[in-house]
Symmetry: C2
DNA sequence: TCTAAAATGATAATAATTATCATTATTGCG
DNA sequence: CGCAATAATGATAATTATTATCATTTTAGA
């Protein structure tokens, strides 16, 4: 794998925008400063970085795949109203995996937990 | 909402094929016996039935949305090799929700848990 | 039986993502 | 340094999953 300026910019953009953006959103965030970078390159590099575990790919929240610069194991809360994504600490998962493994007999390697509800902002605005 | 023969067939197909099929797969399963039914009708009815909580929509496993005739709360295990989907009992979730709510202060209404690993078939075949 | 509302099939449109391919950039070596 | 091999890029076509459109057909109730 070779260095590329574009990859560096894409990663930096993701790090500076910790809002779990989609590929499209990363592209939009870049585009003002770096109008030359193509959407295909954004997709390519986000997928590459995710394969290398430099960043994390999140599916199953809404329509599009989102990307997260935070590779520490953690989970996500999606607001059912505004669709903002919040991080939730990991501590719960190991106990859950152990329990699920015991109950099902499956060889569980990892787990994704997606929580849903109304976020604080949407609750107070109601 | 009015009765339709197509909806009945679509639901029956899903019940008789508890493999968490995608809309496309439901369509393929139907098509041999009922070549008249259109793919659009399959999508429409799966979404309708999911809104009415007669069936359940599962996103975030792989690429496409899957459908599950089992509406009892439960979770899913996806084999990283063969991508088959297994059901996992619900018991773990309430404790997890309580713990996550306590830690994060978020108003959690529901949670989806997706477990990953190698399924028994793929383990023995290795 | 008649009519309004809902559902259908066929297909166009959209959205997200991946593939293609000619051109450009990076890297390591002589 | 300069050059070849390899990887990455930009532009865009292609693909996949899904939703929208709309004329026609079904359903259900008066």
């Amino acid at each position: 794998m070779k260095y590329s300026k574009q990859r560096e910019i894409i990663l930096k953009t993701l790090e500076q925008n910790a809002v779990h953006p989609t590929a499209d959103q990363v592209y939009a965030l870049l585009h003002a400063q770096h109008p030359g970078i193509s959407l295909a390159t954004v997709y390519r590099n986000l997928n590459l970085l995710a394969e290398m575990n430099v960043i994390r790919k999140i599916t199953g929240l809404d329509g599009a795949t989102r990307f997260d610069h935070n590779t520490h194991s953690h989970h996500h809360f999606v607001c059912s109203k505004c669709h903002k994504v919040y991080d939730v600490a990991y501590e719960i998962a190991p106990a859950l995996i152990a329990e699920a493994a015991a109950q099902s007999g499956l060889a569980i390697e990892s787990c994704d937990i997606t929580l849903r509800g109304l976020c604080p902002d949407c609750i107070t605005k109601n």
